[in-house]
C-alpha cells in the first residue's frame, strides 16, 4: 500500500511539475501575478510528493519488500540496516529518484527562502527548475521506475555489491547529487535572466550562494569517493581518472569557475554573458556526468547500469536543455551590457585567467574521457585514454592556477600594479622556495614532484595568510587581530578554501612522490622492515561477519623496539554476491599512514603481504574538507544573509520590505 501510494505520488509530482513549468512562465510573460504565484506552492508540493515517494521506496528496502523488483535486485534480509537505507539510492532507479528529490528540494528551497526575489524572476526560475523536473520524472516513470512489482516475489533478494557496503560510500552519492543537482539552480537563474534579458549585481548575488552550496557539496562528495577508494581498493589509490570520477570533476571545475566569475558580476557588473554561459555549461556537464554514469556508455569501475534505452533518453534531455539554453544564449547574450571597466592588470583579469584555466582543465578532462568513444566511432580505432594521459595534461593547468592564486587574491579591483601586489608576497615566495629546496636536498635522485608539491602547498597556505593579514590594516597587534576576527566571512572563506587547495596539492604530491612500498610473502611469526618500521605478522584467523566471512590478520608494527600500532587487515568474502573485498589495515597519522594488506595464502604457507608508508596521505582529504569549509564560511557571509536585493531596490524591482 505504501508502495502504491509512493508510485502514485510520483505520478502526481509529474503533473504538478508540468503545471509549475507552464503557468508561472505564462504569468511572468503576461504580468499576471496570480499565475506567477502558482510557482511557489507548486514547488513545495512537488517536493513533498517526491519526498513521499522516496521514503516509500526506502520503507520497501527497510521492510525487505521483495515484491519490488529493485529491492530484490539490490537487497537481502541479512544486509545491515544502514545499507538497506543506503540501498535506496545504491542502484540506478533509486539514485534517479534521489536525483529528482534533490532537484525538487532545491526548487522548494528557492520558493521558501527566495522571499526577496523579484516575483517575475522567481516565477521564471521555478518554472525552468520544474522543466528539468518534468524531464527527469518522465525518465523515471517510463524507463527506470523503482516501483515495479514482481508477479512472483522471491523469498530473498540478490544482495548489494559488497564493495558498496561501506559507510563512506553510502553517503557519497547524496553529496555528489546535492552538488550536481545544485548546479541546476544556477542554470535556472541563468535561463530566467536570459528570458528577462537582464543580468545585474543583484542577480549574481542570488546565484552565487546556490553555486557555492553546490560546489561545496560536490567537493565533499568527490572527497568521500576518493577516501573510499583509498581504503577499499587494497593499495591506497585515491584517484584513477575513471570516466565516472571525471564525470564529477568536470562540473566541479566549472562550478569553481562560475563562483569566481559571479563575484565579478556581483562586484563589478562585468563578465555577465560569460557568467551566464558558465552557469549553463556547469549544469550541462552535470547532465553529461549523469549521462556517462547512468548510461554505462563508458564502462568503468562504478557503472552499474548498462541499458542503451536509458542512455538515449538522458542524451535527449541533455540535447534539449543544452541546445535550448545555448540557442537562447546566442539570441540574448548580446543584450548583456558590461559596465565595470578595468585595467589589464587587475583583479578582474586575474579572475578571468582563473576562469580560463578552470574551464580548459574541465574541457581537457572531457576530451580525454570521450576520446575513446570518438576514436571508435569516427576513426575506427579502439583505444584507451588512461591516467598517464591525464597526469600529463591536467597538472600543468593546476600548477599555473596555484601559482596565480595568491597574486589574484591580493589584486585590487579595476587597476593594480604588479610590483605592489607582489611586495607582501615575498615572504611567501621565500618560504615556498626554501621548503621546496629543502625537500629537494633531503631526497636524493627522486622525481621533482615532491619538492614542487611542497613548494606549491606552502605558497598557497602562506599566500592565504598574507591575504588575511593584508586586510587587517596597520597598528598594534591587538587591534589587527580584532580587525582580523571581524573580517567578512567571505574573506575567511576565500583564505581557508585556497589554503585547503594548497594542502590537498601537497598531500597528493607527497603521497605520489615519497611512498614506500614493500610487497612480499610473509609467514606467520615472520618480521620484515618497512622503512624505519618493523612489521610482524602475528596471526591469521577466520572470522564471521553479518553477511560475510573474513580472514583476519593480526599485524604488529614497531619502530626501534617500541610498539607503534596493531593492525587487523581483513579479506572478506560475501557469499550472496560471490565477491571478495579487501579491507586494508590503516594506521592514520598526521605525517604518514601505515597501510597494510594481507592477501591470500601462498603455496609455501606464507601470506601475500603488501605494506606501504603513505606520507601525508590524509592531507589530501584535510585539504578537501578545508575547501568545503571555505565554501561554507563564504556561504554564511553577511551579504547573503541580509536581504540580497535590499541594497539595490531599483535594480531588483522589489518593493520595500
Amino acid at each position: 500500500m505504501v508502495t502504491e501510494l509512493g508510485h502514485f505520488a510520483l505520478v502526481l509530482a509529474l503533473a504538478v511539475a508540468v503545471l509549475q513549468m507552464v503557468i508561472p512562465l505564462i504569468g511572468a510573460q503576461k504580468g499576471w501575478t496570480g499565475w506567477m504565484a502558482v510557482a511557489e506552492p507548486a514547488a513545495t508540493t512537488q517536493f513533498l510528493l517526491i519526498a513521499y515517494a522516496f521514503f516509500a521506496l526506502m520503507w520497501a528496502y527497510v521492510t525487505d519488500d521483495f515484491s519490488l523488483r529493485v529491492v530484490v535486485e539490490n537487497s537481502h534480509t541479512l544486509k545491515p540496516l544502514l545499507y538497506k537505507i543506503a540501498g535506496t539510492w545504491g542502484n540506478h532507479e533509486g539514485s534517479m529518484l534521489l536525483w529528482v528529490l534533490i532537484l525538487s528540494g532545491f526548487g522548494a528551497a528557492a520558493a521558501v527562502f527566495g522571499g526577496n526575489l523579484p516575483p517575475r524572476l522567481k516565477a521564471r526560475v521555478l518554472a525552468v527548475q520544474a522543466s528539468i523536473g518534468v524531464a527527469f520524472l518522465i525518465f523515471i516513470l517510463f524507463t527506470s521506475n523503482p516501483f515495479v512489482r514482481l508477479a512472483f516475489p522471491p523469498m530473498n533478494g540478490q544482495g548489494m555489491n559488497p564493495l558498496l557496503q561501506d559507510p563512506g560510500l553510502a553517503f557519497h552519492p547524496p553529496f555528489l547529487y546535492l552538488g550536481y543537482v545544485g548546479l541546476s539552480m544556477a542554470f535556472s537563474f541563468a535561463i530566467a535572466a536570459l528570458i528577462e534579458g537582464r543580468v545585474d549585481a543583484a542577480w549574481a548575488r542570488w546565484v552565487r550562494p546556490w553555486t557555492l552550496a553546490a560546489w561545496m557539496f560536490l567537493t565533499i562528495g568527490i572527497a568521500m569517493g576518493s577516501w573510499w577508494s583509498y581504503y577499499v581498493l587494497g593499495w591506497g589509490g585515491f584517484w584513477f581518472w575513471d570516466p565516472v570520477e571525471n564525470a564529477s570533476l568536470m562540473p566541479w571545475l566549472f562550478a569553481a569557475a562560475l563562483l569566481h566569475s559571479a563575484i565579478v558580476v556581483e562586484k563589478r557588473e562585468a563578465l555577465k554573458s560569460w557568467t551566464i554561459l558558465l552557469a549553463i555549461l556547469a549544469f550541462g556537464f552535470s547532465l553529461i556526468g549523469t549521462f556517462l554514469v547512468r548510461s554505462g556508455v563508458i564502462t568503468s569501475v562504478h557503472a552499474f547500469a548498462d541499458d542503451p534505452q536509458r542512455g538515449i533518453y538522458i542524451l535527449a534531455i541533455l540535447g534539449v536543455f543544452m541546445g535550448g539554453a545555448l540557442t537562447l544564449y546566442a539570441a540574448r547574450a548580446g543584450a548583456m551590457e558590461a559596465k565595470g571597466l578595468f585595467g589589464v592588470v587587475s583583479r578582474e583579469t586575474a579572475l578571468i585567467l582563473n576562469n580560463v584555466l578552470l574551464a580548459v582543465a574541465s574541457l581537457v578532462v572531457f576530451v580525454g574521457t570521450v576520446w575513446p568513444l570518438i576514436a571508435q566511432m569516427a576513426f575506427d580505432r579502439k583505444l584507451s585514454v588512461g591516467p598517464p594521459y591525464f597526469n600529463l595534461v591536467f597538472p600543468p593547468l593546476m600548477i599555473a592556477l596555484a601559482v596565480m592564486i595568491p597574486f589574484g587574491t591580493l589584486m585590487p579591483w579595476k587597476r593594480a600594479r604588479l610590483a605592489r601586489v607582489a611586495r607582501p608576497l615575498w615572504a611567501a615566495v621565500a618560504l615556498a622556495v626554501a621548503l621546496g629546496a629543502l625537500a629537494w636536498a633531503m631526497q636524493t635522485g627522486r622525481s621533482a614532484l615532491g619538492p614542487v608539491g611542497l613548494g606549491l602547498g606552502a605558497w598557497l597556505v602562506a599566500g592565504s595568510v598574507v591575504d588575511l593579514l593584508s586586510r587587517s590594516g596597520r597598528g598594534p597587534v591587538g587591534a589587527r587581530l580584532g580587525r582580523l576576527a571581524r573580517l567578512p566571512r567571505a574573506d575567511w572563506g576565500r583564505a581557508v578554501a585556497h589554503g585547503g587547495l594548497g594542502i590537498a596539492i601537497f598531500g597528493v604530491c607527497a603521497v605520489l612522490a615519497w611512498q614506500v612500498e614493500v610487497i612480499r610473502v610473509t609467514k606467520v611469526g615472520e618480521s620484515f622492515a618497512l622503512g624505519p618500521y618493523t612489521v610482524t605478522l602475528n596471526d591469521v584467523h577466520k572470522a564471521q561477519g553479518p553477511n560475510y566471512r573474513a580472514t583476519v590478520a593480526d599485524v604488529k608494527v614497531s619502530r626501534a623496539g617500541a610498539l607503534v600500532t596493531e593492525l587487523h587487515p581483513e579479506k572478506r568474502f560475501y557469499p550472496v554476491a560471490g565477491m571478495p573485498t579487501t579491507n586494508a589495515g590503516i594506521s592514520r597519522g598526521i605525517f604518514r599512514d601505515l597501510y597494510i594488506v594481507v592477501g591470500d595464502e601462498q603455496a609455501d604457507g606464507g601470506y601475500d603481504t603488501r605494506s606501504y608508508i603513505k606520507p601525508f596521505a590524509d592531507w589530501i582529504w584535510l585539504g578537501a574538507i578545508l575547501m568545503g569549509l571555505g565554501g561554507l564560511l563564504s556561504l554564511t557571509d553577511r551579504r547573503y544573509r541580509v536581504a540580497a536585493g535590499a541594497r539595490k531596490p531599483e535594480a531588483a524591482q522589489v518593493a520595500a520590505e
Partner: protein, 151 residues
C-alpha cells in the same frame, strides 16, 4: 589428479591473484622497477579502467609475467610495449599514441589553452579601447547624479 589441480587453479585464479604477486617479481630491482613502470601503462583488458599492475584479474597476471619474460629476454621497454601491442592492439595502452587522429587528442589540451588565452587577450584589448571611448558616466547616471546634487 594433476588435471583436477590445473582446473582448480584456473577456476580459482581470479580470486587468488591480487595485483603484483611477490612470486612474480623479478630478483633484479632495476629490472623489476622497469617492469612495474611498463605495467602501469598497460590496461588490464578484462577489467574496467585498471592497469595490469593494480589488477587482480588472471589476464593481468599473465601480462605481468609476459612483460617480465620479455625484459629478461633483453628487450628494451619500447620493444616490450610493442610486443604486447602487437598481440592485443593499441587498446592496451593507457597513454594513447600521438599519431593519426590521436594528434587531435594530444593537441586539444594546449590548443584549448592557447585559444582561451587568445580570447582573453582580444577581450581585454577591446575593453581597453572601449574604456577610452566611453565617458565615465552614462547619460542615465549623469541625469541621476544631477538630480542627487540638486537635492
Amino acid at each position: 589428479m594433476r588435471r583436477l589441480a590445473l582446473i582448480l587453479a584456473l577456476v580459482l585464479a581470479p580470486l587468488a591473484a591480487q595485483a603484483v604477486l611477490p612470486s612474480e617479481m623479478l630478483k633484479d630491482p632495476a629490472l623489476e622497477a622497469r617492469a612495474e613502470k611498463i605495467s602501469q601503462g598497460l590496461r588490464c583488458l578484462v577489467c574496467r579502467n585498471e592497469n595490469i599492475d593494480d589488477s587482480d584479474a588472471a589476464l593481468a597476471h599473465d601480462l605481468r609475467v609476459l612483460v617480465r619474460q620479455r625484459l629478461l629476454a633483453g628487450d628494451t621497454d619500447k620493444q616490450v610495449v610493442q610486443y604486447i601491442v602487437n598481440r592485443y592492439g593499441e587498446y592496451v595502452l593507457l597513454k594513447p599514441r600521438a599519431n593519426g587522429a590521436n594528434l587531435i587528442l594530444w593537441g586539444s589540451a594546449p590548443g584549448m589553452l592557447i585559444f582561451g588565452l587568445g580570447l582573453v587577450a582580444v577581450y581585454l584589448r577591446r575593453r581597453k579601447r572601449q574604456g577610452e571611448e566611453t565617458p565615465a558616466l552614462s547619460a542615465e547616471d549623469e541625469a541621476r547624479l544631477a538630480q542627487i546634487l540638486k537635492e
